[in-house]
């Protein structure tokens, strides 16, 4: 059983070995000419405009949170839609159950809206 995997192991060792050996050899024998432009962080050929560690507005996080909530809504809606017809034969319960769920989510959305969390200024 285990010997069946031997070729894979060989390929793995060869691949890893080739990568490491090439890295080490270029490091040892390659010429090294450094200048300011060459040492700059590379970003699509455009000169850098500032530090990457800038502060984001808290609103991005707020939008992200809201997004997750509605993402989850879809996650629940999808399987519900799949079984909807099967359950409908047993009454309209399945419909109103989802209405309650959506109403609570909609309430949260209205609450956020009314409290001005979506105002971008």
């Amino acid at each position: 059983m285990a010997e069946n995997y031997l070729p894979i192991l060989v390929i793995f060792v060869l691949a890893a070995g080739f990568a490491f050996v090439s890295l080490i050899i270029t490091h040892l024998v390659g010429p090294r000419v450094t200048n300011a432009v060459k040492m700059m962080p590379y970003e699509s050929g455009v000169d850098q405009v500032g530090k990457t560690r800038i502060r984001f507005s808290i609103r991005f996080f707020l939008i992200a949170l809201l997004f997750i909530i509605f993402d989850i809504e879809i996650v629940f809606l999808y399987p519900w839609a799949v079984v909807f017809k099967d359950f409908l034969s047993a009454g309209s319960f399945i419909f109103f159950e989802m209405v309650v769920f959506l109403a609570i989510l909609a309430f949260g959305f209205i609450y956020v809206w009314r409290n001005g969390a979506l105002e971008w200024e």
Binding site: D86, F87, S89, A90, G91, F93, I94, I104, F107, I110, Y111, R114, N115
Partner: protein, 484 residues
């Protein structure tokens, strides 16, 4: 297809208190949204919802009910806890009013709504018969508490403690969840009855998984109820949180944690509980000793009460170590007394708290001369926490210690008694500061009349319960008999 194979209307009636509380919380938020957010109205609506939920919880207190295919179990034990949470919630709302006005956050409807959500979470925790439901309740509780702790947005301490609580709490949640996963891996189910069946039939996949699972679950709970090595968050969070939230934070979640722990070890791991007694013994001894010794050197009243609540968790874990009917009823009695007394004490602290002052023990010097009644109430609370005879605290401690002695844990009880002696020092230090210092107090207390009435009621109740504890003892014995 038949809906009733998934759940019936009986299930919905069973969770009626939770549904009512959810609707109440949403209406409170709506009121705030519509800007009719006069604090009095919001308080009334929230209190009405809590009363209604309590009334519906009574209706279901007949025989044991199993809901949602074994997910929830309703019995006298869970009803007892439902009432405890509702009482704590009502008292917190009443005590919060003056404090929030003082801190300029009175009109925000999230406060009562979050407390209601926390209560729903706790109700689920003690009604749960499945690790998944416990987790759901625990998360609902924790998420509400994270926000409540950081509720004063413009207070740096409040923000700091909110973030601290969130980061450490999320970490502890990971432990709990991993424990539940390993238990599931070992037993093949997360249902308590299923776990018991798997253990008795010896169909456990791996004892190691089960052992690790129980251990991690225990760590998750230990964090939530602040047992020593997992208590490090509590003093900072208790100090930074709004004072009335601190009162809520050191009572309700502790009750829920211990309630869920009792059910877990009494229903799911009942046959292997004896293997864990050494761990509980060590946890108990460490928690009460380290909590007490740390409380000795605190100058901040909130920190002092925080460490005192850590040491009380140590006493309570004795009841889980013994885990018979006597000890469970003792834990329930202790929880009632401890919760109500702590809420009262924090209500007085929140009345005394001002911008820069009012939290240091020194600030309480000479308070008795100006506020004799409040000081008397505070004295009763401190004596009750210390466990002095005429108060209910004595009955609570006595019940717990005698339950432990009758099962032969003499060594632990000696440690507990020594700890009680140590604790008298820091509880009485506050009393000494209030009564026996000649200085003129410069504290200006701000409070609502309603809150003071309830503080007085609690103080009187503690004395009455200390003299005639029979009525409450009957209730807790009955509640304990349904799980033991």
């Amino acid at each position: 297809m038949d809906i009733s194979q998934f759940f019936t209307s009986a299930d919905l009636f069973g969770i009626a208190p939770e549904i009512i509380l959810t609707v109440t919380a949403l209406s409170v938020l709506t009121l705030e949204m519509l800007h009719v957010s006069r604090p009095g109205i919001i308080l009334m609506v929230a209190a009405l919802g809590l009363f209604l939920a309590g009334a519906l919880a009574i209706n279901t207190s007949g025989d044991e009910q199993i809901l949602f295919g074994g997910m929830l179990v309703l019995n006298r034990f869970s009803v007892f806890f439902d009432f405890l949470y509702i009482t704590i919630g009502l008292l917190t709302l009443i005590f919060s009013q003056g404090y929030l006005e003082k801190r300029g956050s009175a009109s925000r409807g999230e406060y009562p709504a979050l407390i209601l959500f926390a209560i729903i979470g706790m109700m689920l925790m003690t009604r749960a018969n499945d690790l998944v439901i416990v987790f759901l309740g625990l998360e609902l509780l924790s998420l509400s508490l994270y926000i409540l702790v950081g509720f004063l947005r413009h207070d740096q301490l409040s923000n700091e403690s909110g973030l601290k609580y969130l980061l450490l709490g999320a970490f502890a949640t990971g432990f709990f969840l991993f424990g539940a996963a390993l238990t599931y891996g070992a037993a093949g189910t997360t249902n308590y009855n299923g776990i018991v069946t798997a253990i008795t039939n010896n169909t456990i996949l791996s004892d190691t998984y089960l052992f690790l699972g129980i251990g991690l679950l225990l760590i998750g709970f230990a964090f939530k109820v602040a047992l020593v090595p997992f208590h490090m968050w509590s003093p900072d969070v208790y100090q930074g949180a709004p004072t009335t939230v601190t009162g809520f934070l050191c009572t309700a979640p502790k009750a829920a944690g211990f309630g869920a722990l009792i059910i877990l070890f009494n229903r799911a791991f009942v046959d292997i509980h004896y293997q864990w007694q050494d761990i509980f013994w060590i946890l108990s001894a460490m928690t009460m000793t380290i909590g007490n010794i740390s409380a000795l050197i605190q100058h901040n009243v909130k920190r002092m009460l925080a460490f005192s609540s850590v040491s009380h968790a140590g006493f309570l874990i004795m009841g889980i170590l013994v885990l018979n009917e006597t000890s469970i009823s003792a834990v329930l009695f202790y929880l009632v007394v401890y919760s109500v007394v702590n809420l009262g004490a924090f209500a007085i602290v929140s009345a005394a708290e001002q911008e820069e002052r009012g939290l240091n023990l020194k600030d309480y010097r000479g308070l008795a001369a100006q506020h004799p009644w409040l000081s008397a109430a505070m004295t009763i609370f401190m004596l009750s926490l210390a466990g002095f005879p005429p108060t209910a605290g004595f009955v609570a401690k006595f019940g717990l210690f005698s339950a432990a002695v009758s099962q032969g844990y003499i060594g632990l009880v000696i440690i507990a008694v020594l700890n009680t002696l140590i604790s008298i020092y820091y509880y009485l230090r506050l009393v000494v500061n209030m009564y026996m210092q000649k200085e003129e107090s410069t504290l200006i207390l701000s409070y609502k009349m309603l809150a003071i009435v309830f503080v007085g009621l609690i103080a009187i109740m503690m004395i009455i319960l200390g003299i005639t504890p029979g009525y409450l003892l009957e209730i807790v014995t009955e509640a304990a008999s349904t799980v033991a």
